[in-house]
Amino acid sequence: MMLDRHHPESLENRDVIIRVRGVEVGFGERTILKGLDLDVYRGEILGFVGGSGQGKSVLTRAILGLVPKRAGTIEVLGQNLDELSAEGRRQLERHWGVLFQQGALFSALTVKQNIQVPMREYLRLSDRLLDELAMLKIEMVGLNPDAADKLPSELSGGMIKRAALARALALDPEIVFLDEPTSGLDPIGAGEFDDLIATLQRTLGLTVFMVTHDLDSLYSVCDRIAALGEGKILAEGPIEVMLESDHPWLRSYFHGKRARAVMAGGA
């Protein structure tokens, strides 16, 4: 189940869409991110890996502005997040979509209404177009049109992820953050979700920042991988770079029993 990975010609020439420099985040006495640097290039799918509790989600949340950082700068689409006015920030937030780990669909609203929330907030659309676009997104993420009028509590885990992805894509964002998109899905569902992300990335020209544990996803859809450990980026680059790394954590991650099984089956 390998998708042909589109190899970037030369990384230096590419447009940096998220630039993280020297970011420090901590809670109380504990410092989790210690001067972390990371670049995300336009149009790539970046897989972000790291052990539990190393701060993968913390970095995502810091970029999204959900946790405060102690030091460092974060630039998204060339704008420094700390220097943005409230209005500038609002403008910027339309350019990203987020898929939370548990979906975070609004439980009081149907799937269609969930997708329409950001549309109603940011766009001035006619009712007809609002409905049609929501239905289009529902089909794009591979949901059955019947799901449109269901409440999140009536959906299965895989459907919740798809519905949440449809909501993340509601405004045609340039960047999509995915927090463990395939966790809790069966291997077939996870594989389909990976393919879906790759397809959408190609058709919509998305940049995807994906926090994941799923070795299959790393092998099949990610252009580049960044590994987090000890509060910094341990290594970044395509999967080959990860495989060659000597770092003990990376070695056990990419050469462990499960990793060998994936390599044998996929590559």
């Binding site: 439980s107 659309l125 177009l129 049609e132 289009l136 997104k137 794009m140 405004l171 919509l204």
Partner: protein, 360 residues
């Protein structure tokens, strides 16, 4: 005929995009119509969808083609190909029919609640008997903990509102009775009203709001996260573990709170009669002793455990009825409080009729 499109065909410009698409549809005369995309700066799903929709609308008149689309735009146009989203229209009823359906459902729901409540009471009693037969299964720590939450921590607010209500009732009593020159009778009024009705009613309403809602929320969120199922598969009876201690604590705690509330209301009433009616505290106490008997006090306190049972049963039933979503939790907490307060007042009315009938 060829139309050259230009500028951004994206969501932020939705109104303009839609208006332009409508213009194209209205003004198209000769076919095949060619839509030239060479000038389009940006295209997103909204733009692609609108173009596809226009093409579909004109398909009856003639062919429409897209020209000079970049490869990315072509993929997007394919992805957002036109499809019909109009499902079957839902059957619509008149308002009157909807209203009748609503009333019917409410009545059926109330009946179901009644049956569920009685069934649950039976389950609860049998669980309590099991606990009494096997005293080792009695969870003293849980009961004490709940007593602290329900009774001890509830004292300040219940004392405060009872005190204030005592003040208010006695002030109005003085204002009205002074017209008949019967000011001292305000003490009879306060004593009987507070001990028989107000103390227990105020306490029950406060406990329903404070502890009933907390029960529903606790049990509801445990149900949502499958914690109740986890207890069950460990061979523990959730009713015995979670609900019996709570209801026992309520049944013990509510009479205690009622007593405290009544005293607070009497103190409030006494202070007010002193200030507004010039009745000194020793006269107040003397007259109070003459006005109320042991039976007055007992009428109030006997009702308290029953109120506790009603509040506890409604709160746990609502908690167990919670389904997956947070919204459902909120709905059940609200309905737990509303139903409990309603039932407490109804029960108080029934008791009033009962005690009047037996002349107690």
């Amino acid at each position: 005929m060829a139309v050259r499109l230009s500028g951004p065909w994206t969501a932020p410009h939705a109104q303009k995009v839609e208006a332009l698409a409508d213009d194209i549809a209205a003004e198209a005369e000769s076919f095949p119509l060619v839509l030239d995309l060479s000038g389009v700066e940006r295209l997103d799903t909204l733009g692609a969808w609108t173009l596809n929709r226009t093409r579909h609308e004109l398909s009856a008149k003639g062919q429409v083609e897209f020209a000079n689309a970049t490869p990315e735009q072509k993929i997007l146009l394919d992805e957002a190909a036109y499809r019909d989203f109009q499902g079957e229209p839902k059957p619509r009823h008149s308002r009157f029919v909807d209203f009748l359906v609503d009333v019917g459902q409410s009545v059926a729901g109330a009946g179901k609640d009644m049956v569920g409540g009685v069934g649950f009471l039976g389950e609860l009693v049998s669980a309590m008997i099991r606990v009494i037969l096997h005293p080792r299964r009695f969870r003293a720590t849980a009961v004490i903990n709940q007593l602290e939450q329900i009774a001890y921590r509830g004292v300040p607010i219940i004392v405060l509102i009872s005190f204030l209500v005592g003040c208010i009732v006695s002030q109005q009593g003085i204002f009205q009775l002074v017209k008949f020159g019967a000011t001292p009778f305000v003490i009879d009024l306060i004593g009987i009203l507070v001990l028989r009705e107000l103390g227990v009613l105020l306490t029950s309403i406060m406990v329903a709001g404070r502890s009933g809602s907390a029960f529903t929320a606790e049990i509801g969120s445990m149900k949502m996260r499958e914690e109740i199922d986890a207890l069950r598969v460990m061979g523990l009876d959730p009713i015995e573990v979670l609900i019996v201690p709570r209801i026992m604590a309520l049944v013990i705690g509510l009479p205690l709170l009622t007593f405290i509330a009544s005293i607070a209301a009497l103190v409030g009433g006494g202070l007010t009669t002193w200030v507004y009616g010039d009745i000194s505290p020793d006269i107040f106490l003397n007259r109070l002793r003459a006005a109320v008997g042991m039976n007055t006090f007992l009428v109030g306190i006997i009702k308290a455990p029953f109120m506790a049972l009603v509040i506890g049963i409604i709160a746990t039933l609502e908690g167990l009825a919670v389904e997956g979503s947070a919204e459902s939790l909120g709905r059940h907490v609200t309905s737990s409080v509303v139903k409990a307060i309603f039932m407490v007042i109804v029960l108080d009315g029934l008791f009033a009729m009962f005690f009047a009938a037996i002349n107690y």
